[in-house]
């Protein structure tokens, strides 16, 4: 499955399919609350956690306000260390640059650490179409690559897959797998995957990783993983390509350390991920190992257009996934329903920014504005506020459904005129009261969205509050 054509406009149909998918629902229910509990415990254990969030937010705000300067410093330091920075304005540019690098060394196999930017650019499909085999080395990514799927979570890409489905995928795609071998639990599946992937590490000519951070003052890229697959992917092949979007840069090593302290805690509840790896340039004379070439593909793909707008704060996002882990909408439908690369609340804000509100507009609408995402965001991104901003953009562009626009107009006309509003509520109150003698309605004209799933409580007797109040005060 490729991300080149988003299915975000079909969000409603995607939701229906997700709710009808019993395996998906079992997978979502099975992990319900796990990440939430782990983050809460990590926060509890670090009294200065919320102060660190403020600090991390301030670092990113400062960086975004001076983004051009820090990117230039970063590029200069990468270049001085012998690496190359490639500026990719679009996903297409990034695809072309990556392919050219791979072809320049005659690559047949490319190993990949987990990178959402690669997903955003559709790198795997592009390499495959050009005769190069991409191998995902993150276990979750590996599973969904076998299944021909896109990630459903930015951190746990295969969170939608049940253990039984992983076993089925391994049995289907792993040749010479002994049918008698027990693969019924996570540990046995890990052993099987590790065995398959070990061999691949030595075959690839190129390794592609993402970057959780880019550090301007040192020219380093940082990856945070729990499996160590990223380290093998980037240090064993001849060429290491880092794919990162330009807002990943921070000024100093000290700043990176602050962001890392909130990242793992927010993501998985760990104090730090198992592996936090800093990379800089190609192998130097005397280095025992490392790649011969070090490339960074810096992707814009619409982000610079968000700078200076009411969506700029979204560029503080460090991709921890806490927002989706805490989002009741994401937890109900999973990540694929969102129809593009980024799901959950961060996706609901970022997606319209990157593919346009015309295509991505469903996502910021599908929120109750419960605010749990903002409450846990380590970078204090006001996600509900920005979803509301997208709704405003939609309204301005007249993309909001006609029935809703005229309904709101009519309602606002009454709400601005207390005398008319009083009359309107009086009539509505009486009608509903007369019809709803049993206390509630099991169906109601024009209210199918409500009554398909629940009864609709009828008004109390005695008229509206305002009428009753007027009567008792007389």
């Amino acid at each position: 499955m490729s991300h080149s054509s988003p299915t975000t406009p079909a969000f409603r149909a995607n939701v229906r399919a997700a709710l009808d998918n019993t395996n998906l629902q079992a997978a979502l229910r099975g992990q319900r609350g796990n990440f939430v509990r782990k983050r809460a415990a990590a926060r509890e254990a670090l009294p200065e956690f919320d102060a660190l969030r403020d600090h991390a937010r301030d670092i990113k705000n400062h960086t975004l306000a001076n983004l051009d300067r820090y990117l230039e410093i970063y590029e200069k330091n990468v270049t001085e260390s012998g690496g190359t920075v490639h500026w990719a304005e679009t996903a297409e540019d990034a695809r072309r640059i990556v392919l050219e690098i791979c072809q320049s060394v005659g690559a047949k196999t490319v190993n990949k650490g987990k990178t959402m930017i690669s997903e955003e650019c559709g790198i795997n499909d592009h390499l495959q179409a050009n005769g190069i085999t991409p191998v995902e080395t993150d276990l979750g990514e590996y599973i969904i690559q076998l299944r021909g799927e896109a990630p459903s979570h930015i951190l746990a890409p295969a969170i939608h897959v049940t253990v039984a489905e992983v076993e089925a995928a391994f049995r289907q795609f792993h040749d010479d797998l002994d049918p008698a071998r027990d693969l019924s639990d996570i540990a046995s599946l890990q052993v099987e995957a590790r065995g398959r992937l070990r061999a691949k590490y030595f075959e690839a000519e190129v390794g592609i990783t993402g970057a959780n951070l880019l550090i301007a003052e040192t020219g380093q890229s940082v990856i945070v993983t729990n499996e160590g697959n990223g380290d093998l992917s980037q240090s064993l092949p001849k060429v290491h390509i880092v794919m990162a979007s330009l807002e990943k840069v921070v000024p100093t090593l000290e700043d990176a350390s602050t962001v890392l302290r909130v990242l793992a805690r927010s993501a998985t509840g760990q104090e730090a991920a198992v592996y936090t790896t800093f990379s800089k340039g190609p192998r130097r004379a005397g280095d025992p190992d490392g790649p011969e070439q070090y490339h960074v593909v810096l992707l814009d793909n619409g982000r610079s257009g968000m700078l200076g707008t009411e969506f700029e704060e979204m560029l503080r996002c460090i991709r921890c996934g806490a927002c989706m882990n805490h989002c009741p909408v994401y937890q109900a439908v999973g990540g694929h329903a969102y129809g593009w690369v980024y799901p959950g609340p961060m996706g609901a804000v970022l997606t319209p920014g990157l593919i346009g509100v015309e295509q991505g507009g469903q996502l910021p609408n599908a929120s109750t504005f419960c605010g749990r995402c903002e409450a846990v965001c380590p970078m204090r991104i006001p996600l509900p506020k920005m979803m509301r901003n997208w709704r405003e953009r939609e309204f301005e562009k007249k993309l909001t459904p006609k029935a809703m626009r005229s309904g709101l107009g009519l309602w606002a006309w009454f709400a601005r005129r207390p005398w008319a509003y009083r009359t309107g509520t009086r009539v509505a109150n009486r009608v509903l009261k007369t019809l709803g003698k049993k206390g509630s309605f099991s169906s109601l004209p024009l209210a199918g969205g409500w009554t398909d799933h629940r009864d609709f409580p009828a008004p109390q007797s005695g008229g509206t509050f305002m009428d009753q109040w007027k009567a008792v005060r007389r």
Partner: protein, 252 residues
């Protein structure tokens, strides 16, 4: 010395569906020494338009609210959601209109959700009521996250004699109402409210209490559809000792 002069913003849902919540609020305020008035020019806070991206309609409605509630010591709302619209959103709504923004902020500074007004402003620690039964409290989202309403209703409920207060699993997770969300995305809303009624039922409590009528109508409607036996009531009904009024969605 006369108590503070408090204006009640009853909210559109309470006005239309459950006036007893308004009267219970008045009773609590009067009992705490306030002089309560109900400005006749009030309608709705404007949240439906604001959350739908219709800034101009929202501003037009908000101007009416700001004018109607001028001059009172405090404005009290039996809804965290409507109170949050005034307290948090009105200033942002008028970001390009300095004069109205100043008026909006002035109103925001004296607007309160009812339970937090009782505890935080009036320093009420207990209510003198006795209610036999068990209850679980659902944290409605806006009240909880925009206004910090969490301990206040629980503190007051703990003072109700005979009331057994139990915590459900995830009391702070959204019930799936979300204003127009529940009719725009009924399938997702249904999953969320089903989880909520299950968690409520899991406590074995006689009733679920909350501070927002929208959430309560959603939870009550789902519980009735599922044939669950717990009642749904606004928290002020219990605090004011009004247990004679049929619960939300029940016949009279």
């Amino acid at each position: 010395m006369a108590g503070p002069r408090v204006a009640l913003f009853v909210t559109c849902l309470v006005d239309m569906f459950r006036p007893s919540v308004g009267f219970a609020t008045v009773k609590l305020l009067t009992g705490a020494g306030c002089t309560v008035e109900v400005p006749a020019a009030q309608t709705c806070c404007g949240q439906p338009a604001w959350n739908s991206g219709d800034r101009e309609s929202a501003k037009a409605v908000a101007r009416g609210v700001i004018a109607a509630f001028e001059g009172y010591d405090h404005v009290v709302v039996p809804s965290g959601s409507c109170a949050a619209t005034i307290v948090r959103d009105y200033g942002e709504m008028f970001r390009d209109d300095g004069e109205w923004q100043a008026r909006a902020r002035e109103l925001a500074g004296r607007t309160h959700e009812i339970t937090s007004f009782l505890t935080d402003v009036l320093k009420v620690k207990t209510v003198c009521q006795a209610v036999a039964g068990s209850a679980t409290y659902h944290d409605s989202c806006s009240g909880l996250r925009s206004l910090g309403v969490s301990a206040q209703p629980r503190q007051l409920l703990a003072s109700v004699e005979g009331l057994d207060l139990r915590e459900m699993e995830d009391p702070d997770v959204c019930c799936g109402f979300g204003g127009l969300f529940c009719v725009k995305y009924p399938d997702i809303s249904n999953v969320m409210v089903s989880d909520k009624t299950r968690d409520i039922a899991g406590t074995g409590a006689d009733m679920v209490l909350a501070g927002d009528l929208g959430c309560l109508m959603n939870m009550a409607g789902k519980a009735r559809r599922e044939g669950r036996t717990f009642q749904a009531r606004h928290v002020v009904e219990v605090l004011a000792g009004d247990m004679q009024t049929p619960a939300i969605g029940e016949s009279e």
